[in-house]
Amino acid sequence: MRNRFLATPYLIWMILFVLVPLAVVVYFAFTDVNSGALTLHNIARMGNYLSIFIKSIWLALVSAVICLVVGYPVAYFIAKAPAGLQRFLLMLIILPMCISFLLRTMAWVSLLEDTGVINNFLGMLGIGPLPLIRNNAAIVLGMVYNYLPYMILPLYTVLEKMDPRLIEAAQDLGCDDMQVFTKVTLPMSAPGIVSGITMVFVPAVSTFYISKKLGGTDAALIGDVIESQFKAAYNPNFGAALSLVLMILIFICIGLTNRVSGDEKGAMLV
């Protein structure tokens, strides 16, 4: 009884800011922009955007994997560091998150553009200018840069909680350092991996600002398309339909990640 009572504020929050908007999105997605009549037209148009969906998911996935590969050793190092250093390093990881996301992306633009810091420097050495911006690699770079902390933090949490005696037990039974990692540390950090991938993938797949600033002119991601439906094209109904489909695709992807991790453990993260 008491538990249910304590959950009330959360329930009200969920209803007001999750369920109601979701219902609105669903309603918009299935109604016509002009007449407001029920229609499947918005959903039917989705086919034209298939390649953009695929590209968005693909780039987000690549970013998530790069974040994992880069973030895991960092998280591992922080988790094994002495307590004082640990706090300091964590602060360094969190610090960029305190600066506006837009500002950080703009900073990358001024670093990467043809007349930017890097190309100017290379120019002095007689190289370039290199095409560092307006391509998919730049988008992935922006995503990795922005979302890396969301990978490191959950990984750090599981690695830090891991009982060092388990590592001793593995060594005792004959594991060398590599086997300790593959047989104990890695499988036991699966929940952190799933949660990290989810936390990077979900915002990355629906991002619009990064691709707009760092991507090429034809590099619109699905987030950009959705944004433009609400702003430029003023077709919120089609935007809602796109959002709905994207949401379903994200759920499918998360479901797959949990399945791959082979455990019900991953479920707690969603």
């Binding site: 005696r165 388990l166 001793e168 037990a169 060594q171 005792d172 039974l173 004959g174 499988p187 036991m188």
Partner: protein, 379 residues
């Protein structure tokens, strides 16, 4: 018995200025069952961790088969451990936990399955194969930990209080099982416990430790019958420990009386500790006893009675199968072989006086009395 396998030479372990092991010199024979016995915090686990390779001694050497192995990592030592805190792998089920070491050794699947199954049978956990460790009771987890180590048939097995979480019945069964496995497979067991009965019952050699120092090494009989100092005498079994003076070889004085004993080799008139085991004392009518005293407390213990007898203000514990009422005046006789003389040590005077026994007993036996006492302390 057989040849020496492991030796610790002057091992010192210091943790932030605290000397936890103070110059340990100890050797372990092949196929021996050796028990490290001592109170909590005396350095038993630390000693095992040094042998297992999880801790490097601050100074001193550890030899395996005569070769210095201070720098050999744990996975290269032919040693397995049953950890005090089990350390089961939470992401693996019971079967895979037990199979872990065998898989690393690339044992063929058929043999692996046979050995794991046999081992689970032995620790009474058949049918638990697919359970995860979190879903097991403490005692079940402990048995998985034993199975996980024993199944590898290592040359040396380190067991850190492997039966601590088991009830008495199961503990006795597992003691027999472990002893049988040890003898059958010819494994050297280095066993840690603070249960003295377990140590005496199972071991070939017992090492009594306190404060990071070895107090005595010997067979269970040696340790019990010939304790080297008041600490050992008190820690192993019950002891009445008295101040005495060694008059000459085979003669000791205490309570102002001369007694014949079997000890020799002390300086004339050297002050000594005299140990008298409560079960060795014969009770006689007062007129024919060496000493006479009044019974102040009687406790029924099943096989015998624990009685506390006041001899001139010093209270002794005596175990007897005959009932003696509180207040009765009795005599006792001490045979020479029942009197054990030890040199004085830092532990002299700390143990072996049962003056506080009756209160101790009431506190232990009656939880209400205990609670009341605590309350009155607070007030």
């Amino acid at each position: 018995m057989s040849k020496e396998l492991i030796r610790l030479v002057d091992c010192v372990m210091v943790f932030d200025d605290e000397t936890v092991l103070d110059s340990i010199n100890l050797y372990f024979n092949d196929k021996e069952f050796l028990t490290l016995l001592g109170p909590s915090g005396c350095g038993k686990t630390t000693t095992l961790r040094i042998i297992g390779g999880f801790q490097k001694p601050t100074s001193g050497d550890i030899l395996f088969d005569g070769v210095r192995i201070n720098d050999v990592p744990p996975h290269k030592r032919k040693i397995n451990t049953v950890f005090q805190k089990y350390a089961l792998f939470p992401h693996l089920n019971v079967y895979e936990n037990v199979a872990f070491g065998l898989r690393l050794q690339k044992i063929p699947e058929k043999e692996l399955d046979a050995r794991v199954t046999e081992m689970l049978e032995l620790v009474g956990l058949r049918g638990f194969e697919h359970r995860k460790p979190v879903s097991l009771s403490g005692g079940q987890q402990q048995r998985v930990a034993i199975a996980r180590a024993v199944v590898n048939r290592p040359q040396v097995l380190l067991l850190d209080e492997p039966l601590g979480a088991l009830d008495l019945r199961l503990r006795k069964d597992m003691q027999n099982e472990l002893k049988r496995i040890q003898q059958q497979l010819g494994i050297t067991f280095i066993y840690v416990t603070h249960d003295q009965e377990e140590a005496l019952a199972m071991s070939d050699t017992v090492v009594v430790m306190d404060h990071g120092r070895i107090q005595q090494i010997g067979t269970p009989e040696d340790i019990y019958n010939e304790p080297k100092n008041a600490f050992v005498a008190n820690f192993i079994g019950e002891s009445n420990i008295l101040d005495g003076i060694m008059l000459e070889d085979y003669a000791v004085e205490f309570f102002g009386r001369r007694f014949v004993c079997v000890d020799k080799g002390f300086a004339p008139r050297e002050p000594v500790d005299v140990v008298i085991r409560p079960e060795d004392i014969d009770i006689l009518p007062p007129d024919s006893g060496h000493l006479c005293g009044t019974v102040t407390n009687v406790t029924f213990k099943g096989i015998h009675y624990d009685i506390i007898v006041d001899f001139k203000g010093f209270k002794w514990l005596i175990q007897t199968t005959d009932f003696h009422a509180v207040g009765s005046y009795i005599g006792i006789r001490l045979n020479p072989e029942d009197i054990h003389v030890m040199p004085k040590s830092e532990y002299s005077g700390l143990f072996g006086d049962y003056s506080s026994y009756s209160e101790e007993y009431e506190e232990m036996g009656d939880p209400d009395a205990d609670a009341e006492e605590e309350n009155s302390d607070e007030e």
